[in-house]
């Protein structure tokens, strides 16, 4: 599944200053029964967002109408746990294109890059500044400039670099994925495979 290229994103953001947000919170396993990639956005943060009877939990940030936007800001060690790509599908389908945190779990980060959600890893100090600023003014605009590889925030002087390999940046800014690349070197792979012992 290909995605829209992402070059520069300017948006307000939703703050979620909880650490170790795991993929079971992002999308609980009981919502993984689909055989197509549809409807995951509705169940993003299901058990934090809804009561068991389906009513909204008013104290959860996604249910607070003051906060919205295409950027999700999460606490340290975001996306730990299960490898389910459904977690990133839920984030994407809900409408986020970028997750900002001071630390990401490995598989989650890979999954993000593979489906067009940009993970932006910044310092703990910058993260806490951004949380403060967004809570103070929910209309704060955050600028993700992937072309020039930096993140800046309205009202904060400091900017930080976005760290990404040249290969993944090229993918993300053009909407390519790894399969496009691999299919092009198929003969080389077949040749490699034929020499394997097991």
């Amino acid at each position: 599944m290909t995605y829209d290229p992402l070059k520069i994103l300017e948006s307000t953001a939703v703050p979620l200053p909880i650490e170790n947000v795991d993929t079971d919170q992002i999308i609980p396993a009981r919502f993984l029964k689909a055989t197509e990639r549809v409807g995951f956005g509705e169940n993003l943060f299901r058990d934090w967002r809804y009561n068991q009877d389906g009513s909204l939990k008013n104290d959860f940030i996604l249910n607070n109408e003051n906060f919205s936007g295409k950027i999700l800001i999460g606490g340290k060690n975001f996306g730990s746990g299960s490898s389910r790509e459904h977690a990133v599908w839920a984030i994407y389908d809900y409408g986020f294109r970028c997750v900002v945190s001071s630390f990401f779990a490995d598989i989650f980060k890979n999954n993000c890059l593979n489906i067009g959600v940009l993970p932006v890893q910044i310092s703990d100090q910058f993260l806490s500044q951004i949380f403060d600023e967004v809570y103070r003014n929910p209309k704060t605009i955050i600028k993700i400039n992937l072309l020039e590889e930096f993140i800046s925030v309205e009202g904060i002087e400091k900017t930080e670099k976005i760290s990404i390999t040249a290969y993944k940046k090229d993918n993300m800014t053009n909407g390519f994925d790894d399969i496009d690349y691999l299919v092009n070197i198929k003969e080389k792979i077949k040749n490699f495979s034929s020499k394997r012992n097991f």
Binding site: D22, A29, Q52, I179, I189
Partner: protein
Amino acid sequence: MGKTLFDKVWDSHVVERISQGPDVLFIDRHMIHEVTSPVAFIGLKNRGLKVMSPERTFATADHNTPTKNQHLPVKDPLSANQLKTLERNAKEYGISYWGLGHKNNGIVHVIGPEQGITLPGATIVCGDSHTSTHGAFGAIAFGIGTSEVEMVLATQCIMQVKPKKMRININGELNKGVTPKDIALFIISKISTSGATGYFVEYSGSAFSDLSMEGRMTVCNLSIEMGARGGMIAPDAKTFEYVKGREFSPKGNDWEKAMKFWKTLSSDKDAKFDKEFSFNSNEIEPMITYGTNPGMGLSILQKIPSKDPEKSENISYKKSLNYMGYKEGEFMLGKKIDYVFLGSCTNGRIEDFRAFSSIVKGRKKSNRVTAWLVPGSHNVMNAIKEEGILDILENSGFELREPGCSACLAMNDDKIPKGKYVVSTSNRNFEGRQGPGARTILASPLVAAAAAITGEITDPRKYL
């Protein structure tokens, strides 16, 4: 400079290096299951691609399957549809498929080693984070997302930046009542759930090499819970002995050739690791968790730690204790529990059932406890029966269910009710993991057995 075990396996699988980018890594074995594969097959179809190496691909049904009456049609229509979809896809692309009731069926990380699919020096992936389990054989094994499943189906390769290398050394004999699960929970409690993020871990020292293959699998299984992509243990005579003669392991000349390579698989003396930890085996006691991530663990005799309320990270800590209904400074010993779950890719092997039954033998299950005992595979289930363990369990008031992932992730009906406490031999104590509102206490099969008898958190050593 010398190479690490990890380097040796990784480097022998690199098809191409992309400058300023990832390596193209060849994958020897790809395991798939019903939950993370259907969208990958849709992607394949949409692009008009085929499965490149069906003979390197193995499918099983495990995540979403009932653990009772598997001979009957699956009741939940969504689960049934997912299972049917896997079966259809496997058939269409010529992939081995072991569905419900098949003699090889079971949890993907239990059956891989059982069938000889898991081999030393191999690269193994699966759309499941606990693929790290297979590292016990000296393989590079890690979990992947669905886009990557599609990649491997289509091209038998994956694009990955080579991770950094970490070594964790533990030497010496283990204390009484300390199992592989306790070793892993101990490490995670020391280095945290993100302590090994960005790294591939090698476990080194006699505490690991003395373990059986089953025990090594439990340790490697939990690598992901310290943030590592995977963990591995150098293969040795025990490993080769385990692998030999299994259905899919190399035979004859191929075996000899493989052995030549496998015998080179250990870290060179002058190999460099990016990070190293060392612990003493005598520091490790039977462990238990008290919070909502696997790093929140302690010795079963300790008190829940108190944290400085001024620090911001402690908001998450309080939230966690609040969810569990526990307070700082409390002892875990003596806390009442409602459920016991023995099973999962972490502790669903025959050795785990032997350990559990060694404690419950001649004793009775507590009336307040509901126990779900779920073998990791049909093979494990058969061994439980053949070794007379089933009789011991039944005499003590336990019942054995049929294989699958079950209450570890509660995708099927095996859900712990809201607010109830479960001592679980699985791998994650996340909020709601074992059912909405369920409160999970992770522990070894020995601790689970002691809790099942007394109905409260109990030091298993008094029964050993």
